[in-house]
Symmetry: C2
Amino acid sequence: MRPPLVAVETRLGYYSDLAAAAMADFLGPDQPSPYLYDLVRDYPSRGGKGVRPALLLATCQAFGRPWEEALQAAAALEMLHNAFLVHDDVEDQSALRRGRPTLHALHGVGLAVNAGDSLAHLALQPLLEDAALSTRLKGRLVAELLAVVRQTTEGQALDLGWRWDGVVDLEPAEYLTMAGKKTCWYSTVAPLRMGAIIGSSGTAQLRALSRFGFYLGIAFQIRDDLLDLDCSPTSGKQPFGDLREGKRTLMLIHLLANADDEDRRWLVDYLRASPSDRCQHALRVYELMERYGSLTYAGECAADVELEAYRAFDEAFCDVRDSEHLDFLQGLIPYMLSRQR
Amino acid sequence: MRPPLVAVETRLGYYSDLAAAAMADFLGPDQPSPYLYDLVRDYPSRGGKGVRPALLLATCQAFGRPWEEALQAAAALEMLHNAFLVHDDVEDQSALRRGRPTLHALHGVGLAVNAGDSLAHLALQPLLEDAALSTRLKGRLVAELLAVVRQTTEGQALDLGWRWDGVVDLEPAEYLTMAGKKTCWYSTVAPLRMGAIIGSSGTAQLRALSRFGFYLGIAFQIRDDLLDLDCSPTSGKQPFGDLREGKRTLMLIHLLANADDEDRRWLVDYLRASPSDRCQHALRVYELMERYGSLTYAGECAADVELEAYRAFDEAFCDVRDSEHLDFLQGLIPYMLSRQR
């Protein structure tokens, strides 16, 4: 039986708290540290949705092992996630993160980049110091974390490079490649893989799991892109942030491909302008997206992705016996597409 | 017998070439990659002085093992060094690196920060994939690399934080703490330690070696600070870059402590100004440093540090038999203080 969304959110909070407590031991010395560790601890203390630790811990449980065995791995991945956020915010020149000013807005680009570097490397510590894991499993999990960095930096490079070069002739498939690397790998694919590696002592087949993670992550990203257009204060971000940053979202790619000549010319000029010049015209892009059916298109893509996610889920867990953990993992599919933040 | 400087430089070039060849296998896929791996490969391809690989490989040899056994560790450290340079240049807003525009000047801050992240994590690969090392030694060397990141980010945080907060009442001892963390750890201490760990199969005592590394690194940094004031084109940097960035060097700390009230007030205002406003007044800071003997003071400190480096060298290698490798390592002390780039 599919759990209701509120039950999914409660459980996300529970796993998130577990990971937050586990992280606390690895975020630098306890004393005040105004230039480094206070900054390192900032984003982790703001709390997140808990998607990554929940996926990792629940997958470990679904494979039959207690969450405790996967906790340090979950802390490692959550720390790496926060390190990415710090650098992402610098790279995108974002002003807000989880409802508060970004780290570089508070402390300058230099100290923020440096704190992100510190956090990204501290992230390996919980894994390396995990006494419960065998050397063999630890080696596999470290390799997973490094693969995460490789995939994420490759995806981020596409996202930034397209904007830097003013690329406007992208296909939806290129968006999927980019988002698959930039978002899915560290948000959904790696947590599932790492949880399965620990939960099965390294015997689980990872291919179908990775496919499930990919669709789940794409669902997450499309919802994220749509939430960016949501001006309600619950999102914790600046509304229209992606539009101002000129991010190549599925909606923007659709709009570029479907707008008439005049609107397209305007849009191309808009995307070539500086972010500050774009600022005042973001609403017009949104109106064009509505007019040309780009929002409807993204919604349809999300529905297709949802269907594929259910199929991949069935395949990924076909040898795993039913449990509340499995129900929760399946419940994350509709959650990804209907979450309000 | 102490080798002449030119012999030291020849040998640095030899070790540098070895490390460059070893790095090449780990800098991403061979095909063009305009947004990521082309950037990742840029700084490593510009060539460096080779101080770090030389220290690591020669120390391994001095302890009786062939350089081949330490080559992947040297590649790892050199890659991490290049990753630091990419982020350092962003954090300091530097325009030139090794005589060419910095990575962020060429590709923007976003792509440069992302490429630095990629390079910093790729740096672990040569070590993790080193088939010649035992699991135990590999574990120790990975821990050394992570300690390098911890120390370097802590030192960088002080350097940046002092400027961010406009701190003007620093003691020379605070400079030594900062430079010890920011420069010595990854430039001299870690290469010596890692070379000794491999060369002695983990049996070498590391305390005196670390002390030797500290003095060698401080000598390197003081020389670096003095070279910044050298306007000849061989330095490969913008002259007066540190003055424009307001870096708290030994000379600046001396000047702040010794200038008369009027000059000190002017200097404090100068340090609080924006970098672009500082630009046109950098020459006056240099003249004040000359007038108040701050350059002489830095030279005297360097001489003291040189003496301590020789003492620490003797202690660190007292149980190691004479060899050309040991002569070379000792020859690095005068090299650090007289190098022209």
